[in-house]
Symmetry: C2
Subunit: 347 residues, 2 copies
């Protein structure tokens, strides 16, 4: 049977918990890909920050690499071919059709944007779950992809694998987004809803850090940078606006917010860190900040790590999507749904 | 420009408020269809229950017909060609590529199912917003469409134009629905949330009837038949089950439910008419009934005419979609998004 299958070569830049979960999902969906697309995949390259990199055009042994564990682990022994000393070399030599970029979030978008640019220039489709480069360089990266005739997809940047960009593009034809708002950052929502129940800011923050949910630098969550990057992507990708993260009016949460949270609860109300985008003349404005909501507001019902996005549209009026308590598996599914979108979409 | 455009012929069976809203939306999206698909549409047939029917292979004057108003209105004067005495004749003679079926809901699925079957046999794609025929004859109608190489689409049967079937098929690849639940009937949700605020059952019901939101026979809403038809479609289309509306355990709401609603409010809880589908061995079970929920349950936040559907999946864990206060325009958009799905999907 395998002889009749078409082959697609995949490369992973970043092999932390998201990259690993994605590799596991690929293994689980191998048969589904055969049936659905008559397609088999192999991973021809993996590049990591701390565990070296490996390229094998015949396909790396995904299962063995996953089993090797995370500690004291080097990919070197799986590498075949000429030595490869940088991520730039890796992108040029990995022989992949699609690059999956999942390196660590940085508000500057670097160095991820540089790697994405190199991959697009080299004719690879790029799928990323990394907000930084998409938010900061949306226009130049989408233009470059168009020029090179490849796709640049980023479903995982907002609400993990919950369909947001695919939702609007594939299921809401001819729809104009008038405005949108929601809760897009899990760390701050967890902290706010824990404080409602009496926990301290510190204790709640420590928990999400321990769980690996908070960004490596928790200030990116707490100061609203993560939500600002997300609202910037939504504005640029779905509303035709140009606001970059630094253009978003941004207020985060702090120890102090605890008092507001408890005062709100006493009045049967709730505080949520709300992200908003709305049109003003020909511009699209974005802002992030704590808001006090009535108890029966749909946003008040979003607790813990859950997210919600409410779209105000000309075709469907108000439509909301909620993602309940996501884990790293849901981000991995974002990469997988982009891979499928890429396979389904005419080139 | 028009000379380069491909043509698609549409026929409408049923021309009540949904059919009219759909015709208006088609007019508004004519340019969008040109740009997106290089396609122009014409309506070659309209058949109504009370206003006669008209066929014109050169295209009926949609705008004039819409302006003619609803009272003392007959389509006869627009008819071109041989007389046409039944809906069966209409389907055979209308010369359409796609039939949009929007006749009145009946739990039996008839006579709509007969017309859909005739259209599919005659090689027309069929788009319907009518729950009855889809719920009762799901398997035979989808099989017939497959045999004839045409498409049978029904996005509008559940939550109007909010993407449900298109959501799962187009944006949740390789996903298994483990269970689902939600609030799928606007009339009963409106009555329940009005009773929370002190209104009587009768007054709330009268309002939704006046607004044209309740089914022509309100018992279909109140006794849970509408929700049962919807959960049956979800079970058959998304979960591979076979439960028809009569197999759904069904409890509706009544005057009496008012007492429960008010008692629940006093305990800071809410009553909602919840539709559920879950797996039990190899079967999928459906049920409809009032449930008492905690105030912070996402279902408790759904008020008035709004709907919610929560999917429990193997890829995205829990994912919810909410439609806020839909009108007939949102059902019209369901027909439009099915038309677009049909144009995008390889035949």
């Amino acid at each position: 049977m395998t002889e009749d299958l078409q082959q697609i070569n995949l490369a992973l830049l970043g092999f932390g918990s998201v990259g690993r979960a994605f590799a596991r999902l690929l293994l689980l969906r191998r048969d589904w890909m055969h049936r659905e697309f008559g397609l088999d995949w192999k991973i021809t390259g993996i590049a990591t920050q701390n565990h070296s990199m490996a390229i094998d055009h015949n396909g790396l042994p995904t299962m063995r690499i996953l089993r090797a564990g995370k500690r004291d682990f080097s990919l070197d022994r799986f590498h075949q071919g000429p030595a490869c000393s940088s991520n730039t070399d890796f992108i040029r030599q990995c022989g992949a059709d699609v690059l999956f970029e999942t390196s660590v979030f940085d508000p500057s978008g670097e160095p991820a944007a540089t790697y994405i640019r190199e991959a697009l220039r080299a004719g690879l489709h790029v799928v990323t779950a990394n907000k930084g480069p998409v938010a900061v360089h949306f226009r130049s990266l989408t233009r470059l992809a168009r020029q090179r005739g490849v796709q640049f997809l980023y479903e995982g940047t907002v609400m993990d694998g919950a369909p947001v960009f695919n939702l609007v593009r594939q299921t809401l034809p001819s729809t104009r987004i008038r405005s949108l708002h929601g809760i897009l950052n899990s760390t701050t929502n967890y902290i706010l809803t824990q404080m409602e129940q009496g926990a301290t800011f510190e204790a709640a923050l420590r928990y999400v850090q321990k769980q690996g949910i908070a960004e490596a630098n928790p200030a990116f969550d707490i100061d609203g940078w993560d939500a600002a990057a997300k609202i910037s992507i939504l504005i640029q990708a779905l509303m035709g606006g140009t606001a970059k993260p630094e253009d978003i009016k941004r207020e985060g949460i702090s120890e102090n917010t605890g008092r507001l949270v408890r005062a709100a609860v006493r009045r049967d109300r709730r505080i949520r860190l709300v992200a908003r985008a709305y049109r003003k003349g020909r511009k699209v404005i974005g802002k992030i900040g704590p808001e006090e909501l009535e108890i029966f507001d749909p946003l008040a019902a979003i607790r813990g790590l859950s997210n919600i996005l409410i779209l105000n549209t000309d075709t469907m009026r108000e439509l909301a999507i909620i993602e309940n308590n996501p884990t790293v598996e849901q981000t991995a599914f974002a990469l997988f749904s982009d891979l499928v979108a890429l396979l389904r979409r005419p080139q």
